[in-house]
């Protein structure tokens, strides 16, 4: 069993949606994560706000305000799951509700040092 990270990009900004839509959307995420949790494969993860953000870069730690990318490129959150290999991890990722909103899930292996 290794750890894999899902990086969520794009999708729609739920903070702009109506409370009812927000709740409906969160319910979909819960159903998906419930399923992973029930298999004992959910480690955790958090959604990220589309609002305020800063980027520090370079030797001078030049600070710029977010957003950091356009639409589809914005990272909206992450999740860490257990899986026996990258294929199983990718299979788990297929249930993610982000696809309904044109988002993407990048599946990465957490490196064991």
């Amino acid at each position: 069993m290794s750890k894999y990270m899902f990086l969520f990009r794009g999708g729609s900004d739920m903070q702009q949606a109506s409370p009812a839509d927000q709740q409906a959307n969160m319910m979909k995420w819960k159903v998906w994560m419930d399923d992973i949790a029930a298999k004992g494969k959910l480690h955790g993860g958090e959604p990220l706000s589309y609002g305020a953000g800063k980027v520090l870069s370079g030797r001078t730690m030049k600070m710029t305000d977010g957003p950091f990318a356009e639409g589809k490129e914005i990272v909206g959150g992450y999740l860490i799951v257990d899986a026996k290999d990258i294929n199983e991890a990718a299979e788990l990722g297929k249930g993610c509700p982000i696809f309904e909103n044109d988002g993407s899930v990048e599946v990465r292996v957490v490196m064991e040092m």
């Binding site: 709740q23 319910m27 819960k30 994560m33 480690h43 955790g44 993860g45 958090e46 959604p47």
Partner: protein, 397 residues
């Protein structure tokens, strides 16, 4: 609500769940007088409790050892609020109450602790009320609750017992519910309101059991029927001065026909079940009484037959005693006295001596009757019982 929150936080944190409910109610007391009572008070309380629960989980989720099944979902903001929402959702609250009922009535807890815990967490009674209901000090109740909570923590999870253990565990739950009911129905030492609350809660919990597919069983319907037959008569059991009115003298026109009809319905459902329990027979006896137009026209033969059945299930002196009373009605006081003589093990009960007194009086043996009443009076502390016995002594001349 405590039940739902306890499932959320895990059995180890039953106090945390109680805290949140307390906080919710305090908030209501502060806000409602100024902003008015919300349109749907239950929904308001639900929403506030949910938000408080989410706050607590946010602050303490690292430190809390939450239920394993939900730990991952409750630790992530992705799913925290929808998980809390779902766990506090109205339909699942009933299930949570059932789970909690089984946990409160766990066989590893002594009966008195089971009852105290059930009243606190399932029925929302305060410590002073529970203390008054059982005529003990608040300190005693606090001790019972403390020990029960300790035992509760050791249990860890609050889940339904597996199917193989359901029947014996259900028996414990029913016994506790019946105890709760009897505490409200029989005791005359405490305030009217608490008695009514105890009866209502016992009926509510039993009704809840009938509404769940797993616990919708014959013996549950039988107990519910039994309690409903008794409850139908409760208004006529005590007169305006708080004295007990005997079955013989109760105003049958004041018995609650709706409750009797409901009891009949549950007795039908009970008989359709597989198992035969004590509650079945006791409910059947109560049904015969409920449907008799007068005391004299009661079908005493049927009642004696039912007591015989009951004795086969549970050969106890109390049942022999009740059977003897029925014999006296069917075959006269001499035959009744003879049957009563055969009962061993009730010599310490005021009921036994009071009944013996009645039968002696009916045979004209007034001196012996008076002695029996006097002995009975020394054996009970209930003011209502004592008053009744005093009247009977006086009647002996």
């Amino acid at each position: 609500m405590v039940a739902a929150l306890t499932r959320l936080f895990g059995a180890k944190h039953v106090e945390l769940a109680e805290d949140i409910v307390q906080e919710t109610l305090l908030k209501a007391m502060h806000e409602w007088p100024y902003h008015g009572v919300p349109d749907v008070p239950a929904a308001w309380l639900h929403r506030v409790a949910r938000n408080l629960a989410i706050d607590r989980l946010r602050r303490e989720s690292r430190g809390l050892e939450l239920l394993k099944e939900n730990a991952a979902l409750l630790r992530s903001e992705w799913t925290l609020s929808s998980t809390v929402n779902e766990m506090l959702n109205a339909p699942s609250i009933a299930d949570d109450q059932l789970r909690m009922m089984f946990a409160c009535c766990h066989p590893s807890l002594p009966r008195e602790q089971q009852v105290a815990l059930a009243l606190k967490t399932l029925c929302g009674f305060g410590v002073p009320e529970i203390a008054r209901a059982f005529v003990v000090s608040e300190e005693t109740i606090n001790k019972r609750l403390y020990r029960a909570r300790e035992a509760f923590r050791a249990l860890g999870s609050i889940e339904f017992p597996p199917p193989s253990e359901l029947a014996p565990r259900l028996e414990h739950v029913l016994a506790t519910i019946y105890l709760l009911f009897n505490e409200g129905y029989n005791s005359t030492s405490h305030q009217h309101l608490i008695r009514e609350d105890l009866i209502e809660e016992a009926l509510r919990l039993c009704d809840l059991l009938t509404r769940n597919a797993t616990t919708d069983r014959g013996e549950v319907h039988a107990l519910l029927a039994l309690m409903l037959y008794h409850a139908a008569r409760s208004a006529t059991r005590i007169d305006a001065d708080g004295a007990i009115v005997l079955l013989r003298e109760q105003d049958r026109s004041k018995w609650d026909g709706e409750l009797i009809a409901l009891a009949d319905h549950h007795l039908d459902r009970a008989v359709a079940g597989q198992a035969m329990s004590m509650y079945h027979v006791e409910a059947a006896i109560a049904a015969v009484h409920a449907h008799a137009a007068t005391f004299a026209s009661t079908d005493w033969r049927a009642i004696i037959g039912l007591y015989d059945q009951l004795l086969r299930l549970n050969p106890s002196p109390v049942i022999q005693f009740n059977r003897a009373i029925a014999v006296a009605q069917a075959d006269g006081s001499a035959a009744g006295a003879l049957a009563l003589e055969a009962v061993k093990g009730m010599e310490g009960s005021h009921l036994y001596h009071a009944a013996r007194g009645d039968l002696l009086r009916d045979q004209g043996r007034v001196d012996e009757a008076r002695a029996a009443y006097t002995l009975a009076a020394t054996l009970t502390r209930s003011p209502a019982q004592n008053e009744l016995l005093r009247r009977k002594q006086d009647a002996c001349g």
